[in-house]
């Protein structure tokens, strides 16, 4: 098999598998999972978690092989293990590799510092997006990300959708588009990788909030209020983080918000919904098969807002609800009595 024809996907979770299936319509795909027994099973039965995998997919457990065979690689792994995985393949990665990640989370440069507390502040320099993490931990420079309304369950059902690939490099955008596009999947491009990454990451906060709205039966007016004002908060915050506002109005921002904030298929939405029903956050997280990135994102966003003195009452309330045991009722009362001034201030 020639190098040009193979692309790699790292992470065989639900979204990773969806991405692999999409790619397999155009290319041969190496799909990496770190669980050896899982790989053997998937190869044998051609299924991952009851979902069929395309015949062009080879499931493997060998990162060195993947980096040798593929110039174009899609890491789709939780932010918590992102660094470890990139580090483990760092010695195989070269500047001519293209990495387009699909992870909607942030990492922190820890350097032995204390964990984030309620009032703690954190500056942009200490926060890494996944593309920054790739740059930091490897020789790869041609990085990109995919973000957009891409609920895995719908994509498994082959329903139509679209995504955006963001990168500073034309080559990354073009290669990503060529590999991913199909009759039922549109792929747009953007140069604002920070904006697209942050939009994809921060929207999870709103998805949790939206889940709470549903869990409490607060109605659609309340959800609209939460989403609109929450969007203003994340745009305001992102201005301090180096993002372009307009990326929040595209697929990775509004597009993804509409999908995740109204769908019980979203993990983050589910976390919010179950919180509203009175479950404890740890019980919820322990019972979930895959990571809800929004829970960690709320913590980082809150610390960033503290640092840059950005007024983010929704993020703050969600943070206190999850990490400081603020009751749902108290949180709601706080928000409804918060003194907002003008409507649209962020543009």
């Amino acid at each position: 098999m020639s190098k040009q024809e193979s692309v790699g996907v790292i992470g065989a979770g639900s979204f990773g598998t969806v991405v692999a299936n999409l790619l397999a319509e155009n290319k041969h795909v190496y799909l990496f999972s770190r669980r050896k027994e899982f790989v053997d099973d998937a190869q044998l039965n051609r299924k991952i978690n009851d979902h069929k995998i395309h015949e062009n997919i080879t499931v493997i457990n060998d990162l060195e092989l993947l980096t040798k065979e593929c110039f174009l690689i899609f890491p789709v792994i939780p932010s918590g293990s992102f660094k470890e995985v990139i580090r483990s393949m760092s010695s195989y990665l070269r500047p001519d590799h293209i990495l387009i990640h699909g992870t909607k989370g942030l990492a922190i440069r820890n350097k032995g510092k204390k964990k984030l507390e309620t009032k703690q502040k954190i500056s942009r320099e200490r926060v890494l997006t996944m593309s920054e993490l790739i740059r930091k931990e490897s020789a790869v420079v041609r990085v990109g990300c995919i973000a957009g309304p891409n609920l895995a369950k719908e994509m498994q059902q082959q329903l139509p959708a679209a995504t955006v690939i963001a990168s500073r490099f034309d080559e990354v955008i073009h290669e990503g588009q060529n590999a991913l596009k199909s009759n039922r999947f549109q792929v747009y491009g953007s140069y604002d990788i920070e904006g697209v990454e942050l939009a994809g990451v921060l929207k999870n906060i709103l998805a949790i909030g939206s889940g709470i709205c549903s869990g409490l039966n607060l109605g659609e007016n309340a959800r609209a209020l939460l989403i609109t004002k929450g969007l203003a908060e994340i745009i305001n915050l992102s201005k301090y983080l180096g993002a372009e506002e307009r990326s929040f109005l595209g697929l990775a921002g509004i597009g993804d918000i509409i999908a995740t904030c109204s769908s019980p298929n979203s993990r983050n939405y589910t976390v919010g919904f179950r919180l509203a029903k009175g479950e404890k956050i740890n019980d919820i997280l322990n019972s979930m098969e895959e990571v809800a990135e929004g829970v960690n994102t709320i913590k980082i966003a809150n610390a960033l807002a503290n640092n840059y003195k950005v007024n983010c009452p929704i993020i703050k309330t969600l943070y206190e609800g999850i990490y400081d045991n603020l009751s749902v009722d108290a949180g709601l009362e706080y928000l409804m009595n918060f003194k907002f001034s003008m409507d649209v201030e962020f543009m």
Binding site: R94, D96, A139, V141, R142, R168, D170
Partner: protein, 564 residues
Amino acid sequence: MNNGNGNNQPQVYKRIIQDIHEWPIAKISKNREAVIEAVVEETMQTILQKNKTEDDVHNELAKAIYYEKIRIDGRRWKIDPKDDKAFWDYVKNRLVELESHADNKIDEEKELLRKIITRYVTEIVGNFNVRTYNFAERFVPFAFNRLLNASHSRAFRKIFGNKKHLLRSINLVGEIEQVRKFAKDSIIIAVPTHSSNIDSITAGWGISAIGLPAFFYGAGLNLFSVRFLAFFMHRLGAYKVDRRKKNAIYLEALKVYSTQVIQQGGHSLFFPGGTRSRSNHLESNLKLGLLGTALEAQRRLILNSNGENFKKIFVVPVTMNYGFILEAPELIDEYLRNVGKERYFVPADKYSSSYKLIKFMIRFFTADADFNIAFGKCMDIFGNTVDENGISLNANGNEIDIRDYFKSKGELTNDTQRDSVYTKMLSESIVAAFKINNVAMCEHVVAFTAFKLFQKKNPELDIYGVLRIPEEFREIDKEEFKHAATQVRDKLLKLRSNGKIRIDELLEAENIDDVIEYGVKKLGVYHAKRPLVFTKQKNIKCQNMKVLLFYHNRIENYGLEKYV
């Protein structure tokens, strides 16, 4: 001279290549006509590639005429050729004439294009000449030798009263051995910070002083008006850059020349800030045009060697810090006038009278003013660190084969968009390197402390308000000043231990009073009104707030304000 290694013995660096004829710049410049021809030819090709149709070529010429007309209608510089207007009138008339020609129009237009390019290239290309370099060394009073050997002839000078004797004034510090090593077989691109018009001389001087052969470098055309300065700059390898010429043809010619000399192994120097830092802040936003030529040269070197045994290009960030900058008052004025505004400046032809400048330079080089030149660690053309053998490393210490940067799917490719992102990345690495190689001096510490104290005492005032504080309120109690300066100095020492900045060793004086005394006396020593003076009670008084702001800016953005 202090070699930066903690001892105060002057370090004399031998030339890494003894015979000037063997210097890359000498070999490349040997046949000026051939150099001009090659640059003209490639510039022609590039412009024609970018302008494929007859209309495109016509429009490109029309644009050049338009921009040149604006330049010529503006303030004339002494250096501008006498036939400037006549030439461009001819070009304009010829282009109009050609519009009515049906036959051979494109050929005629190409010919016109070639004439323009030839004119530009002839102006740009440097004039390094081994004979005159030697002549300068032997005969010219107050010239190279005098400058190069300044440290030999100068006696130890008293600095801290009777307490310490230090050999002072010109400090060359940093990764000097590394750059000397790489300059032998590889190509060096030195990228200094830019504060003063004399940087063209001091940077060139610094390069000679550490034993490197002369570098190619672009110097502002206006500087060549001063015959005295022009003389030195030619010796030092300068070529001419005219910032007023903003048309695509000129810029392309400049880039082609730079790319060709680097590709042929010529060490080069760019001021990546493009112009002097008006505020005296370290440059944070770099011009990418000339940096991009270094990247293109590296790509060609790899391509032409079939990827084997290619010459590697190393970028050396250089920070230049002065206790006194001649143009400080005018620079800070321009900065304050234009802060927050995008305005086009026609740089004034300031130094057409040599007298003031020569006088200043004699003082500067022979006596009183301090300056530091710090050489940062070499990086590759992508901003990666390199090991002692010049091998590029990623953040985890894994080796990087830089050929891979120019490959797509295993093949070397030409992708200008990709390369422009690389150039941006390099500029980000240079900006970061400037910050950690900046040399904080006593002068900066007193300026910073004083200005921040004025701000602290007047929290209700914005920066313009602080600048207008009346004279009678511009005095700071000596104890208060001492306390704040101690805090700032201590924090700087801490930052230095963490590799976040460099400091001039005078800042390490045991007694902070020495630092204050020295800083205040030396800060802006030749300005008509020195920014800071001692009162009879030994309090600190500011005589010029704007110039104080200027010197203070050099160590802003290190989080020091918390300590005042």
